[in-house]
Symmetry: C2
Subunit: 280 residues, 2 copies
């Protein structure tokens, strides 16, 4: 693991690393914010999953999360959104919503994607293992959150791995990729045309079937989000949670769009939500 | 004036505009944050001047200023750092520290720069005039601040135009461009080799000679800033303020570098400083 950036920020350290991922069969970069409290001992850690086209850098530069993370004593890890580098296949037409920058946090089963595009295993196991070895984080207090495609990733990973991720929230998540164009495009290529195989990556399907539900789910959604009706469909999450009796706090935010200006506005409250969930 | 972006952020609006600058003889973009209070009537306005290589976007995306600006009811205007567009001459070798992205907030007198590079007049007159006409800002309560080259711009503009800019602060400013490589390169080309002409753009020289001093000057400077000794030299500002009896609060911040992670950390306190100076 090679440190490639290190900046003091709000009394903590905002760092960036390059490391080898065996799961993805490529080198990856990720960012980590270590709050001042990490100098005294292990701190709870949150994983932030970004949306389409992002790298590890967007969240670090634009979300304004470090101030409250430093106050609450939370580490935040921001991974990249897909495998990277020469030899990693991309969408033949370079589309923004498939391939590089668009890993959708799944383990691909279809050729040529299956050899690198295993973001689910990277996020749920390989990266947390390496982070726990290298940094003063308490992996028994670990949360996950994200935006759009990353909101989908956070919800599905938390639902499928409740022992690993004990708190979960999302900004404008894709809640039902089996029922929207972004999801149908990505899942059909990564997983093949059999829609039965897609259900393991659909939050609304998982909520109906998993054994252990999160104690609470916080979701913020901009009402002026340009992707609200065609891609995000929060009403499907509301209905799934209602059927199962899952505790969802969906906050529709008037005037807000899909941008990091929306994310930054409500970041403070998401961090406090996770800190409370992970407190003990 | 054409609106090219508009995002809700912390209850206000983060907007971006393209407009014609007669002074610079080109089209320019600038950003403005309008806090929620601007819906009720005119609000105080701050001008943020960015450093080398920046556009109007860096501050907006990275400084995390909107939260406290929304709380305090401050508008913030972020201009570009030089004239732009085809026909605007650039450094022949494309250097990062001269020409495009490096206007140094001066009125150039030397050919070929003098026809476009008139950032002093743009910031002190043309842009504030257009902003006052188009937005609900109270121009009688106006402050200025900036980073590095923009800290130099903020200090010199405030010292020379105390009626226009009634509060001033800076992050890691170039306080004496007549005595550092960045400044000597830029001023010799924009203003010619006669160093007497440079003094009107040197904060340390101006502090000794202007009639009206700012009521207070707030400066934050990272102690691990890679440009501290060669380019920034805050000790020269300390000495100039001591000689003149000017009120300077220079805060040396251990561990911080020259980046926006440093700026974001102390942004909150700068905004509160300006709000207090502009209160009445």
């Amino acid at each position: 693991m090679e440190k490639i950036a290190d900046n003091r920020c709000f009394g903590g350290q905002q760092q960036r690393y390059r490391h080898r991922s065996e799961v993805l069969d490529c080198d990856m970069t990720f960012a980590i914010f270590l709050p001042p409290q990490a100098e005294q001992g292990p701190v709870p850690v949150l994983y932030w999953l970004s949306g389409l086209t992002c790298t590890d850098e967007n969240f670090v530069q634009k979300a304004g999360a470090q101030r409250v993370a430093a106050e609450l004593g939370l580490a935040i890890v921001a991974p990249d959104t897909s495998p990277r580098g020469e030899g990693v296949p991309d969408d033949p037409e370079g589309a923004y919503d498939f391939g590089l920058g668009a890993g959708f946090y799944v383990n691909a089963t279809e050729s040529p994607w299956s050899s690198h595009y295993r973001m689910e295993d990277y996020i749920r196991h390989e990266l947390p293992t390496q982070v726990a070895e290298a940094f003063p984080v308490d992996s028994t207090r670990c949360g996950i959150f994200g935006h759009s495609m990353g909101g989908h990733g956070a919800l599905t990973l938390a639902l499928k791995n409740p022992a690993t991720f004990q708190s979960v929230s999302a900004f404008a998540p894709i809640v039902a990729p089996t029922q929207c164009p972004w999801g149908e495009k990505a899942l059909s290529r990564y997983l093949g045309e059999n829609r039965e195989h897609w259900r393991a990556y659909d939050s609304c399907e998982l909520i109906k079937t998993v054994d252990d539900l999160p104690a609470a789910i916080l979701v913020d959604q901009g009402q002026d989000d340009q992707f609200l009706e065609a891609q995000l469909k929060p009403e499907l999450l509301v209905e799934a949670c209602r059927q199962r009796g899952a505790k969802l706090d969906l906050r529709m935010q008037p005037g807000y769009d899909h941008s990091y200006f929306f994310i930054a506005t409500f970041m403070d409250e998401h961090l406090r939500f996770h800190a409370k969930q992970l407190a003990r």
